[in-house]
């Protein structure tokens, strides 16, 4: 009787050991695969990097030439000189933000992991969205009594400025939320693997599109500035 009981105890003991073995084995390998999956790299073509770099440089040099050509001491037009000087310095500060070394490094990377995209998104948000769009251009888009300068030409371009600034401000919110999704997800599959790769690729190009939008807005605004001085 005791022998039989011991046999049963042994079977139960082995069953528990087997279950724990299975759980540990599953957890270890699923994590190993997830680790491999999220290390997936997005490779960019040299052509793509060079073309985009050229596109950005062309626009930045145009904005720079506009700001450099304006001399407040020589200006004899009807506009308020303080306003023109403020706008000019705002444009110069924006160009400085666009020329940030770290941001350009992130933009020119050939191989991108999801962490690189996250860093790029953070840099873009702090330098371009906050440093240029919100801090420099957004208040020029305010109209009515709260407007900083009461100028007819500025009032005309203000809605365009505000609309674009609002759009750029919320553009990368979705990307930021999507990027955080890879931290707690661990059940790996072919589907999730491709999702992570697509997330890296799509997030990067989404942020880059927003970057393009910002630089285009800056260029449009500086062309308007050139028109009024």
């Amino acid at each position: 009787m005791i022998k039989l009981l011991k046999e049963y105890i042994k079977v139960i003991g082995y069953t528990f050991t087997g279950l724990v073995f299975g759980a540990a084995f599953f957890l270890l390998f699923i994590n190993f695969y997830h680790y491999k999956d999220i290390s997936t790299k997005l490779e960019r073509k040299d052509e793509d990097i060079q073309t985009y770099k050229q596109y950005v440089n062309d626009r930045l040099s145009e904005v720079k030439s506009i700001t450099e050509s304006f001399n407040p001491n020589l200006y004899k037009g009807p506009k308020e000189r303080v306003m023109l000087m403020t706008i000019n310095s705002k444009l110069q500060l924006c160009v400085k933000e666009f020329e940030d070394e770290k941001l350009n490094e992130a933009l020119d990377k050939k191989e991108l992991t999801i962490k690189d995209v996250y860093n790029f998104q953070n840099l873009y948000r702090s330098k371009i969205v906050n440093g240029c769009i919100v801090n420099q251009l957004y208040d020029l888009g305010v109209t009515g009594n709260e407007a900083k300068f009461h100028d007819a030409d500025l009032a005309k371009i203000a809605p365009f400025l505000k609309l674009n600034a609002d759009s750029i401000r919320t553009d990368d919110d979705y990307v930021a939320n999507v990027l955080l999704n890879n931290g707690s997800y661990f059940f790996s599959s072919e589907n999730s693997k491709s999702n992570i790769y697509e997330m890296t690729r799509d997030s990067f190009y989404e942020i880059r599109n927003s970057y393009t939008k910002s630089i285009d807005l800056l260029l449009e605004f500086s062309r308007w500035f050139k028109g009024i001085v």
Partner: protein, 176 residues
């Protein structure tokens, strides 16, 4: 071969238990600091570690062969502790999990807390398995019985030695 493997896993499980405990402790202390939780509550997380250590000591002390000479059990222990250490290290060093960058501690607490349930299930599972297996080969009673058998055997041997006739040295010249 099996004996060598068993010996290896047997000692490895003690080392890996320490490693798993150390890495988990590091992550959990940082997590509790971050969440400003009472450190005393950490004790509840580490109860299964303590229980398992006590069980291992009992196994070793009473030489319970159902556990100590069980290759499968020792291998499972090694696998579980290795997995726990791997999960803790991954939450610290895996730079591609974005939550690691979101909080300032550079440890992915989100990931580790997801895994805590699995860790507890595995640890308590090992405790239960150890409990059953230690009784499968007699447990504590088996040893006492063995002791009794040993003392009986010693008495019998002694008696046999006493009853054995002493060999007498015979002089060759006398016999001739």
């Amino acid at each position: 071969m099996v004996r060598i493997l068993n010996g290896m896993f047997y000692f490895l499980k003690f080392i890996l238990l320490l490693v798993a405990f150390g890495t988990s402790l590091y992550v959990l202390i940082a997590m509790y600091q971050r969440l400003e939780k009472d450190m005393f509550n950490l004790i509840y997380v580490f109860i299964p570690y303590a229980v398992l250590l006590v069980l291992f000591i009992i196994n070793m002390f009473f030489k319970q062969t159902g556990v100590t000479k069980n290759v499968f059990f020792n291998l499972t222990c090694c696998l579980v502790f290795f997995t726990i250490a791997f999960l803790a290290l991954r939450s610290v060093f895996d730079v591609n999990m974005i939550y690691r960058w979101k909080n300032t501690y550079h440890i992915n607490f989100n990931f580790y807390s997801d895994m805590l349930t699995f860790i507890n299930v595995m640890m308590y599972g090992l405790c239960i398995a150890d409990g059953f297996l230690m009784f499968s080969e007699g447990g504590f009673i088996f040893k006492r019985k063995n002791k009794e058998n040993k003392s009986l055997k010693e008495k019998k041997d002694k008696k046999a030695r006493e009853e054995k006739p002493i060999a007498v040295q015979v002089d060759d010249e006398e016999t001739l």
